[in-house]
Symmetry: C2
DNA sequence: CTCTCGTAACTAACCATTCAGTTAGAAGAA
DNA sequence: TTCTTCTAACTGAATGGTTAGTTACGAGAG
């Protein structure tokens, strides 16, 4: 063989992640991705079919990784939210890629079964915990999960102008705001 | 006069709003905007300087309108969050435009003073209410505002896959989840 | 005439995608 | 081993359509 197909795909995925996180799908340039991956443009089409195909591959990988890294714990939702926050800190591209997906791709492509199933599983786990009395039943399971996920991502979803108001806050403080807020929902 | 400059600007702003909401800045096409506004492409450059100039004009207008339409009431934050939710329902483009701004424009352009000032004013109002004992002091003012704003926008910021789980929920139910959640934060 | 508003045609660059061809290792035959 | 053939991986260059931005000109009102 001339090269290593798996290694080339890997480099294209990594370069695509950085490019898409920064510029989105419409703003991404296949030339830049190929250059950053030290690969030829045509390889993108050979391995992923199209620019959007590469984005989908990048996004799929992120979804799988996140689902693996941060499992839900229905008995301790505040800490679950905190761990989600930690995950967003570890992978800053994640939230941007997710936003681009929502804005540019979601209406075009089919709902991702992996996300759908994962969410359903989490809702079921919360419902079970509520039935067991481990969790208060003030909110419907799906609504409670939505609240927890939203609050966990609150700092990354904020308009940049807001950061000037809270610039002095430490990471630990922000994490505590999240866990405290989720705790308040359950009180 | 051959035409009406103000009316032309107005049409360009409206067409730009729809185009940018749908495709973002990189994805927007000036030809489509001009056609939708029944105007000429060159008019965009005459009145707004560039594609990004038009986006900024569109965004500025949205910001001003929202700040005018939904004034804060520190003594009743749950209802404030509810009114924000109502505003997002009335202007569906708003949240998308705001997301595009955050992803595509915020890093390039200066922080918008209007947003900065408005946020500062809200933080001050919350701090005052806390000092007056109208509002519990469990959260710092800026953190509490961030929580309220985040929760108010929770349904629009959700990944589309999530909507399949809560499809049956009515608008009223979603609004109640928001006001209940903010109420829980203040308990 | 002059000023404002508007337009059609143009350009130069850009960009996703394709393709004809090259490279180098593998495998089989003698 | 050595020669031949096959093929996956890769490449440089082209293609064809698109796009932001420009320019030179027209037309009506005062």
């Amino acid at each position: 063989m001339v090269g290593d197909a798996e290694a080339t795909k890997r480099r294209l995925l990594d370069a695509g992640t950085a490019e898409f996180a920064k510029y989105g799908i419409a703003g991404a340039r296949v030339d830049r991705i190929a250059a950053a991956a030290a690969a030829n443009k045509a390889q993108i089409y050979h391995y992923f079919g199209s620019k959007e195909g590469l984005f989908d591959a990048v996004f799929d990988e992120f979804v799988a990784q996140t689902l693996r890294e941060v499992p839900i714990d229905p008995a301790d939702l505040p800490e679950y939210a905190g761990r989600l926050f930690d995950g967003y800190l570890r992978h800053p591209e994640l939230t941007r890629i997710a936003s681009w997906y929502r804005l540019e791709r979601a209406e075009t492509s089919e709902p991702l079964q992996s996300i759908l199933k994962a969410n359903q599983g989490k809702v079921d786990a919360i419902a079970q915990a509520q039935a067991d009395g481990v969790l208060p039943s003030r909110f419907d399971p799906a609504d409670l999960l939505a609240l927890v996920l939203t609050i966990a991502g609150m700092w990354t979803a904020m308009t940049p102008e807001y950061h000037d108001l809270v610039r002095s806050e430490t990471v630990e403080h922000r994490r505590k705001v999240i866990t405290d807020a989720v705790r308040a929902l359950l009180a």
